[in-house]
């Protein structure tokens, strides 16, 4: 009879992982897109010759 009150591990863990994943997934996407964007700005924009000239003109070396 007591065993009826012991929670079934499978039924509790599965939804928890799914919920965790559901919460994490948008964050992973945000981090991915943000890192691609920041790298692009750093390498292709600031790192470009035009960017370097602009920074030098602004006195930032």
């Amino acid at each position: 009879m007591e065993s009826r009150f012991i929670p079934d591990p499978a039924s509790t863990v599965k939804p928890t992982i799914r919920t965790l994943w559901r919460n994490l997934w948008p964050i992973i996407i945000d981090l991915w897109v943000a890192s691609v964007l920041l790298l692009f700005i750093a390498i292709r924009v600031i790192g470009s010759n035009t960017g370097k000239h602009l920074l030098q003109a602004l006195g930032i070396h």
Partner: protein, 603 residues
């Protein structure tokens, strides 16, 4: 200038109408899922290829203004029924659902192409357009026949685009070939749209994929100023679109046609077509549950049609030059003796290509870093400007989102396969243009998927990434075209460009103006004879080609000058050689000289 513009407009319009006539039967073979604009673009694209093939075959006997006009007139006549049918279509069929931003991007790029295409193409022999894409057609028209130029081995390449350039020259003058980029780029964009639709995007999303493609400077570089890579990519992607979704025999006939046109445009088509056939078969087997025997039958049919379409170029090379692929590939260099090329020169030629196309290495790490390097360091693959950041930011998510669609999966696998073969051979960015629109399609799919997450921060982040990619790409494209655009509106700037970017201009002006010039002998391999309007004999090519077996250097040629039947000699001091005609050579009279250039008359 106005005459040049009118000539270019006329030539491109007539060629488009003729292409429509040449491809009138294509629209009937396309699956019902194709929209009106897709039918129009595929008909035009296939028609351009067929028209070029017809001109090439006729051009083996005569490539003159009369034969070109006659051929084009026949196809214009054939287009009447199709054009009438097109005009009777309900206007509602042409309505497109496209957002303001993608529409603006696409229109801006097309408008830039149209205006910049009216500028004069100038440059030195390092520019492929000057070295052979435009030189070949110009000389073929002068000679009245299509023949590979012995001193420019690259004019023996498959020449779908170059033959069209020749026709455009004949119909509309010097500016028409570069203006035709508008037509080919527009067709390419619609093919990219068609791929996006088939991959599962709605109409608006598909136009976003086109906008991502349009704003890729690495794509644009292969579209204008006499470059042929975008037309080649359009054929390959059209084949993928039709082949991966072909519904029976008619679909495979079209698939074979576009495969053949790919092989008839660039040698890289020879590597791409087996991959296309393989993935089309896989798509049919898994997507339509067709029996293996039927798949095999259709694949063989497509290969046969493709081989028939492309074969004239390869058979011509075999007969005239000794090898169907000319210059022969490295592994044939010692086995197959060919005209005008020694095995040593061939090895040097391929060593140069291999060094240029080594990109960022060939190891496993370099392979897995390709998405990163193609996004951030495209200049290492000679693709300055890059492909934007949408492919890397959203592409992987697009792959995940489209995992249930057979067409999308096969398209992705085909693109990966193309990229792998490119990575293992020549890592020149232009050669990968067929894969870039696929990245844009998956970027649009991924973006749509990310939007389903629906947090305002994510949407803002996506908006920023897309804005950054589009603005950067458009800035790079516009800045690369600035000189061309400005020279269309400013005659003085155009004149300045003409003076500054054409090597040995004064000698060309002298030779073109002098009526006593019959044939000019040129020694230096780097002299861009594209600017010479008179017949010429160039003894040594840029890649080691040797036109006369008995004349291995300038001194030997000078001894036999009488037999060469030339009236003048153009001798220059370039980065690879000094003046080659000794001063006071008997039998020659110096008639013109300027900095690093001398012209002699043969007495």
């Amino acid at each position: 200038m106005l005459l040049l513009i009118v000539g270019a407009l006329f030539a491109v319009t007539i060629l488009a109408v003729a292409a429509f006539g040449a491809g009138f039967w294509i629209a009937d073979l396309l699956p019902p899922s194709f929209s009106a604009i897709e039918r129009l673009a595929f008909t035009l694209l296939g028609g351009l290829g067929i028209l070029s093939l017809a001109l090439f075959l006729i051009g083996q006997l005569a490539f003159t203004r009369a034969t070109i006009l006659g051929t084009v007139a026949v196809f214009v006549f054939l287009s009447i029924r199709s054009i009438r049918r097109l005009l009777l279509v309900q206007p509602a069929v042409w309505k497109m659902q496209v957002g303001a931003i993608p529409a603006a991007v696409i229109v801006l790029v097309l408008l830039t192409t149209a205006v910049a295409g009216l500028a004069e193409i100038t440059g030195h022999s390092g520019n492929d357009a000057i070295a052979y894409h435009l030189l070949g057609p110009k000389v073929w028209l002068q000679d009245g026949m299509i023949r590979p130029l012995p001193e420019v081995s690259t004019t023996a390449f498959p020449a779908t685009s170059e033959v069209l350039f020749g026709a455009l020259y004949a119909l509309g003058g010097q500016r028409a070939p570069s203006f035709s980029a508008l037509l080919t780029l527009a067709c390419f964009f619609v093919v990219a749209y068609s791929l996006a639709r088939a991959a599962g995007l709605d109409e608006r999303g598909s136009w976003w994929a086109v906008a991502f493609t349009a704003s890729m400077p690495a794509v644009y570089i292969g579209a204008h100023s006499g470059f042929i890579d975008v037309l080649y990519a359009a054929f390959i992607l059209a084949a993928a679109r039709v082949g991966f979704e072909a519904g029976g025999q008619s679909g495979f006939i079209l698939f074979g046609l576009f495969c053949g046109l790919g092989m008839a445009t660039k040698y890289t088509g020879l590597a791409a077509v087996p991959e296309l056939v393989c993935f089309a078969a896989i798509s049919q087997y898994f997507g339509r549950q067709i029996q293996k025997v039927s798949v095999l039958k259709y694949a063989v049919l497509a290969i046969l049609i493709g081989a028939v379409i492309a074969s004239p170029y390869y058979i011509r090379n075999w007969i005239l030059l000794g090898c169907p692929i000319y210059p022969p590939p490295p592994f044939f260099a010692n086995q197959v003796p060919v005209k005008f090329f020694s095995p040593e020169s061939l090895h040097k030629f391929y060593a140069y290509l291999y060094a240029r196309g080594s990109g960022l290495g060939r190891g496993l790490v370099a392979y897995f870093l390709l998405p990163y390097n193609l996004t951030y360091h495209t200049s290492n693959f000679n693709g300055a400007g890059g492909i934007g950041l949408t492919g890397l930011a959203f592409g992987p998510l697009g792959l995940f989102a489209a995992r249930s669609r057979v067409f999308a999966k096969v398209l992705a696998l085909f693109s990966i396969s193309l990229t792998t073969s490119w990575f293992l051979t020549l890592q020149e960015s232009r050669y990968l243009i067929p894969a870039y629109p696929v990245a844009a399609v998956f970027a649009a799919l991924g973006w749509r998927y990310v939007e389903s997450v629906r947090t305002s921060f994510t949407r803002a982040l996506c908006g920023m990434a897309i804005a950054c990619s589009l603005i950067y790409g458009l800035f790079m494209i516009e800045s690369s075209q600035w000189n061309h655009l400005w020279s269309v509106f400013s005659p003085s700037f155009a004149e300045k460009q003409h003076e500054e970017t054409i090597p040995y201009l004064r000698s060309f002006e002298y030779l073109n103006a002098d009526s006593t010039v019959n044939r000019v002998l040129v020694f230096d391999p780097l002299v861009p004879v594209y600017y010479l309007d008179k017949p010429y004999l160039k003894l040594f090519g840029q890649w080691g080609e040797q036109v006369l077996p008995e004349a291995t250097d300038a001194a030997q040629a000078l001894e036999e000058i009488g037999a060469l039947k030339v009236s003048h000699i153009l001798d220059v001091h370039s980065s690879v050689s000094d003046f080659q005609v000794p001063e006071n050579t008997p039998g020659l009279k110096l008639v013109f000289q300027a900095e690093n250039q001398r012209v002699y008359r043969v007495l």
